[in-house]
Symmetry: C2
Subunit: 313 residues, 2 copies
């Protein structure tokens, strides 16, 4: 299968590399010049736990994707949320009538963005539990294991989605065909919508957050707001189960000692966050359905205030 990875950061590098190793024709697309140069000069280094792989994959910046590029069968979207729209504006030349887009971004509101560029029957959504890190430009650190849920948005997309499933299966990416991927996306958004913003604004790790006497009340209130808006979109979140999934992360033996990605982006690296696609998306969607989401609103505003104070880029 001819596959473009739109957003070839840590996770995009992992998935691109594993799909390449399974014999697919993979191209990477990313905006980071150092990363592009490193991969062009030395190839993409994939440092697995017990071995290292170097793959000489073609990599382009989005604006290099011009008319003479052939269409691809599949675009795997793995940009930062706020970069999704600009990415798809630039990569139109590789998207033909039969090209599918598989969106693996975290957060909410991407369906609306992708629908501007691709018909609904060509869109696949998913979530993943794989992790990945970058040791530097062109150098991915790939520890642990994971799986990928996927589902076509429209029944017409099912046949091709099952083909993608087979391709991912061969690449050992452990795909699972989901019967309710929207549910999984909302559930994951609840986890990010509590731990990310709250650990960032309180300047603490996940276990420290979990130890707070107010932790349960915070997550109940915020998950309640997510659930009310999800319900308006036809998704009935099991709030007790979602809260249990959040509280499972407090354990210091698993994720407890980690700082969520938003904390690392904003507090450590002074980079803008994805809050508008998590709590901010619930706030905006809530407005449309006339559902009050004051904790999501206030948390979104606090994170944006912190971005301004830290002059985040």
């Amino acid at each position: 299968m001819k596959i473009a990875i739109a957003g070839a950061g840590a996770m995009g590098s992992r998935i691109g590399l594993m799909l390449h190793q399974a014999g697919n024709e993979v191209i990477l697309i990313d905006r980071w010049p150092d990363h592009i140069n490193a991969i062009r000069e030395k190839g993409l280094i994939g440092e697995f736990e017990d071995h290292e792989v170097i793959a000489h994959l073609p990599i382009y910046s989005p604006e290099e994707i011009v008319e003479d590029h052939a269409n691809v069968d599949l675009v795997v979207a793995l940009t930062k949320s706020m970069q999704l729209e600009a990415m798809f504006q630039d990569i139109q030349p590789i998207i033909g009538k039969s090209t599918f887009v598989f969106c693996l971004l975290n957060g909410l509101g991407h369906e609306e963005t992708l629908s501007k560029f691709v018909p609904k029957e060509n869109i696949i959504f998913g979530t993943t539990t794989w992790t990945a890190g970058l040791a530097g430009p062109g150098h991915a650190k790939l520890v642990g294991t994971g799986s990928i849920e996927m589902e076509n948005l429209d029944p017409k997309g099912k046949a091709f989605t099952l083909k993608v499933l087979e391709v991912f299966q061969k690449a050992k990416l452990n795909p699972i065909y989901s019967n309710n991927v929207r549910y999984s996306i909302w559930k994951k958004a609840c986890i990010n919508g509590t731990l990310n913003g709250l650990c960032t604004i309180l300047d603490c790790n996940i276990a420290e957050f979990g130890s707070l006497s107010v932790a349960r009340n915070f997550i109940e209130t915020i998950v309640g707001e997510f659930a009310a808006v999800a319900k308006a979109e036809g998704i009935e979140l099991n709030q007790a189960q979602v809260i249990q999934a959040i509280e499972a992360t407090y354990d210091v033996k698993t994720q407890g000692l980690h700082f969520p990605s938003m904390y690392q982006d904003l507090i450590r690296n002074h980079r803008k966050t994805e809050i508008d696609y998590i709590n901010g998306a619930v706030w905006q969607k809530g407005k449309n359905y006339q559902i009050d989401t004051p904790y999501c609103a206030f948390l979104t505003q606090l994170i944006h205030a912190k971005e301004e104070l830290l002059n985040a880029k």
Copy 2:
């Protein structure tokens, strides 16, 4: 007049000292052992801008106030909000039938506390614009000038309140008889209820807060919650005027470069805050009136979370 200062920190030291200089019989009451010892050994040092005063005032810890102390005419309450109730439990022996209490604490909810110990007709409320600092135990730094608004809670208290006004006038404390001290208290609470909590949780000074694009929306929302609850208590806050007063503090030539007292208490000194008597009081009062105050609720919870994370005492 025989006057006890219940809570002789920086502001209590200023007012006690100035009342003493005007010829009143002043006793200080405070819980800080180093402060008590310093004043007993060397007297209370008042370092004004252009001269220094040493006053040998009697000082007691609250539990030393026992039956053989004579009643006082007036108790000026200047504790931290959370210490008010315990203070009045301890100093019952000096409170007689005709003793008045003049409450100068910041924040809300003190009327309910004092009413447990003193009949309403013996309660005076006030606010002050005087400032004061402590250079160390027993050593007050007293710069600038200010005024004190005061009003009896009950019409029966007016005659004595006017006597207190005269005493404060002689002490050059610039008292003003107020016709709506509750309004002034709520207005001041709005200023503290926005700048204190938000600068503390965002880790910024007042000018930095004022520069945020979301600043106006934050203060409008929080002042709106205060105003809704104040209205239920019979006080019609002029929200535009309150917002103007808050925004006037952003100026770097006045208070802009300062960090609010809550920031200093919690972030610098790891001490518990008065949030329960500001936003927390609005939240609790709101519950009684079935008025939603989610921004006050969330901000109160965030500050308490921060207290726990910093192990504030």
